[in-house]
Symmetry: C2
């Protein structure tokens, strides 16, 4: 595959669903999407999921904002989605790449401390060393103190939401420096009644 | 990567979460897992997700059973997860490969007709023709009449649960005949109040 058809625009995307385990799920989803400042990403919601696209830092910032605004309700909520960069089939449209780098949500979010047990998996595409790249990411998580074990088909993180998101963002960004097309699935939970004791 | 370290045991795994958008989510999750006949797959549930492993046909059969038993409550429920086969890091343990091929749930499920709008993405690993393999799967879905469009980072299916699962299973199985390690993310919804008119 030639470099020219690999996405080199740097657009990061996240297609995610927010699942509040509550009769009030519509209000929680709409509330979280409204409370998050999404001005610096392209955003589209359909009946199954929401897609955001833009600079990596803003995509992670908005994802964390949506998760935390939902989680602060105290309800059991989950953000489940897939980050992606460099898909050869992607277009350069639907993106907000000409914005500044100031994170829109971080100041508001810094006060919110909520545990975010997470399972994630990294998929570096079209690269024969992909298992090594996955192992590198486990080391990143260990160094950040969030890694809490490998499980079938995924790795587990435990910690405060800010620490978990920092691990996910670092893991994704370090990998995309080495491989043009990378995806990463994340399953980030809050307030689960069956939370294991860790 | 040598063939020898790619998983050739044929174990298919699915790590999934079932999300009932209801105050009764615990009962719905436990009820669906109990109602499904899971005797022919290895199964383990933690506080974030459930992992099932075994023969491909049984993994898909159990996944459909869990989804339909939850969906028949009429509540908005989602099954979101990742199918996997041939991960080089996988073990041959935790599997039920010495069971017969008779599907345990199909007879009960055949009476349940529930629409299952779905977004899915296929990740054939370590293969330079992976974009072509993804395009092949879109053709499979078109031929089955379930394909309803490409979206950023995923494809959409619409139809009855049985048709949607048949499309997913065919897509996964056809691809794994060509590539040793394949994963496929699925986001399968039922009873959403924001269901688009299609």
């Amino acid at each position: 595959m030639s470099q020219s058809i690999c996405g080199k625009s740097g657009i990061v995307g996240l297609r995610f669903s927010l699942y509040p385990m509550s009769d009030q799920f519509v209000d929680v989803i709409k509330g979280a999407l409204n409370e998050a400042d999404t001005a610096k990403v392209w955003l589209k919601t359909d009946d199954i999921s929401t897609c955001i696209r833009g600079k990596a830092a803003h995509v992670f910032d908005v994802a964390k904002a949506v998760f935390l605004h939902a989680a602060k309700t105290g309800l059991h909520v989950v953000l489940n989605g897939t980050f992606s960069i460099g898909c050869p089939g992607d277009s350069e449209g639907d993106s907000y790449m000409n914005v500044d780098d100031v994170l829109s949500n971080e100041a508001v979010l810094s006060e919110l401390k909520i545990d975010a047990p997470t399972q994630f998996a990294l998929y570096p595409m079209n690269d024969s060393s992909y298992m090594d790249l996955i192992a590198d990411v486990v080391e990143i998580a260990k160094n950040k103190g969030t890694f809490s074990g490998g499980i079938h088909y995924a790795s587990r993180l435990d910690g405060d939401t800010h620490e978990v998101f920092a691990t996910l963002e670092d893991s994704f960004m370090v990998t995309q420096e080495k491989v043009s097309h990378v995806t990463m699935t994340v399953n980030i939970a809050a307030n689960s009644p069956s939370r294991k004791n860790v």
